[in-house]
């Protein structure tokens, strides 16, 4: 087993280093998908902006919150959540979707996961335009803590790649999980402080949710720095634990099942 883990790990490291392969494929995927539109992937950014503006103001009014506080937090929260949800959802389908390719061309399976993740990261980068816009509109000074978004994002990415690999393998074998994940993510969306804030639940029974929900922790490691808010060390520790744990689960599944996938498709 140890040898298999080692072989799988070195395969993943080798393939991750070949950025020009999966990176180029991911960029091509996006440019092809939006070929016949004028503004390309910015269409999704525009849709997201519309959602943020409408839902954000409505909820701020409903929950009697200050729009200037709620809207930025909701906006960045939704942008990061979109990345999480899309990567997990596509991740659960990643090997099934490339089934014909997997059976036709010998290539390490992790390439498909990396390509899918890169695609979603590129879309996420488009959405960051909205964050830039926030900084223009809001009277926030630029703070050095903004840079903490980079390690936060790294922790989130490692977790997502690990989870997508494990889910992809599981869903190649058991086809009914994909739909469960879609509804599960919707459920998690409401349990994560996106359309509500941590402050709003402070002192209520729901506050523990923001502590034990891994999605909340990982989301905040990107969101809080992006909003120039302070992050606490406990969240960094928890986030790192999630990242290492998920990476190990992903690696374990990859080592054990990657050679079976061609037979399941």
């Amino acid at each position: 087993m140890e040898n298999r883990i080692q072989a799988a790990a070195s395969e993943i490291v080798r393939q991750s280093a070949q950025f020009d392969r999966w990176g180029t494929l991911a960029l091509m995927d996006i440019s092809l998908r939006y070929r016949r539109t004028v503004i390309g992937p910015l269409w999704i950014t525009l849709t997201l902006a519309a959602t943020i503006a409408s839902v954000g103001t409505v909820y701020a009014t409903l929950f009697k919150q200050d729009v200037a506080v709620f809207l930025p937090s909701f906006a960045v929260g939704l942008i990061v959540w979109t990345l999480i949800a899309a990567t997990l959802q596509e991740g659960s389908n990643v090997f099934v979707a490339s089934g014909h390719l997997i059976k036709a061309v010998p290539a390490p399976l992790i390439v498909h996961v990396l390509q899918m993740t890169a695609r979603n990261v590129v879309i996420f980068l488009h959405h960051l335009l909205l964050v830039v816009l926030l900084y223009v509109v809001m009277p926030w000074p630029l703070h050095w803590t903004l840079l903490l978004a980079v390690p936060g994002f790294a922790i989130l990415l490692v977790t997502l790649v690990g989870a997508a690999t494990a889910l992809g393998l599981l869903c190649a074998r058991f086809r009914d999980i994909g739909s469960a994940i879609v509804s599960g993510l919707q459920f998690v969306f409401f349990l994560t402080p996106i359309i509500w804030t941590e402050d709003a639940v402070r002192g209520t029974a729901f506050h523990w949710l923001t502590r034990v929900n891994p999605f909340a922790t990982l989301l905040d490691l990107v969101r809080k720095p992006l909003l120039s808010q302070a992050t606490d060390p406990e969240q960094w520790l928890l986030g790192s634990v999630y990242a290492v744990g998920m990476a190990m689960i992903g690696l374990g599944c990859y080592a054990r099942y990657r050679h079976r996938v061609a037979y399941w498709l």
Binding site: L32, H100, A104, V105, P106, A262, W264
Partner: protein, 255 residues
């Protein structure tokens, strides 16, 4: 370049699980576990054995023909050699860069232009970007498609598409060439050109493995042959002997 290429298969078996709708459901497995139905009652996924205890050694210089009826395991064997299927039992040792010339259209995208597809397919089969870009002009020239390579693939006729697919697939050489039936594409003039290129690739390759139903092709191309029957190597030896056995088996007596 080709002296080092070799392939060793030891006792290789491949068995496919035939997964029914129920087998693919985690929910039904969960329900079975919760209701404590004994494992004996639970139907195991049926296994179909595609290859069974295959021992094979291919050395540089070998031109191996794989013969057998439909479903005998020819394509599965090629896919094992290409590294697509990892055998359920036994060991595979392939030394040398493999060029697998089957499923050539995989990786192409209808919406992308001819040039983009050259890059795309190249990346998919694992070539480096620089390597593909270095050969771009050569591939484009071989297709004779000219400016049409700037158009999306969906506007191509099937003949044009085949030209592109063939040109891309054969642009990168390998020490080990795996062929599932000989590829013939395009109109008369292009067919001749394609034939010449394939001949050249095969001539340069250290090892050729060719699965085919075409008796004359195997006879002219290969110096060794194996006969597959229901996933086992029924016979191995010189091309003549194996073809005789195969033809005797199919009752198609030929002089």
């Amino acid at each position: 370049m080709s002296s080092a290429a070799h392939i060793v298969l030891r006792n290789v078996s491949v068995a496919f699980p035939v997964l029914s709708f129920r087998d693919r459901s985690l929910r039904s497995r969960f329900v079975r576990a919760v209701t404590l139905r004994s494992a004996g009652n639970a139907p195991r996924p049926r296994l179909v054995s595609a290859l069974n205890g295959v021992d094979l050694e291919i050395r540089a210089g070998d031109r191996l023909g794989i013969i057998g009826a439909n479903g005998a395991g020819k394509t599965t064997l090629l896919r094992v050699l290409a590294g697509i299927y990892h055998p359920t039992a036994g060991t595979v040792d392939v030394c040398g860069r493999c060029l697998s010339l089957f499923d050539l259209a995989a990786g192409f995208d209808e919406e992308a232009t001819g040039y983009e597809n050259i890059l795309r397919r190249g990346l998919v089969i694992g070539a480096r970007r620089t390597e593909i870009e270095a050969r771009r002009a050569e591939i484009a020239e071989f297709t004779e498609l000219g400016d049409r390579l700037d158009l999306p693939l969906r506007t191509y006729s099937s003949g044009m598409m085949l030209r592109l697919i063939f040109a891309v697939a054969t642009a990168i050489e390998g020490e080990i060439v795996l062929l599932d039936e000989w590829i013939g594409v395009g109109d008369q003039q292009f067919r001749k050109k394609a034939r010449q290129r394939l001949d050249a690739i095969v001539a340069r390759a250290g090892i050729l493995v060719l699965a085919s139903h075409d008796i004359d092709l195997i006879k002219n191309t290969c110096n060794r042959a194996i006969l597959l029957r229901e996933g086992r190597i029924a016979a191995a030896g010189s091309t003549e002997d194996i073809l005789d056995q195969y033809l005797a088996g199919t009752g198609e007596g030929r002089a």
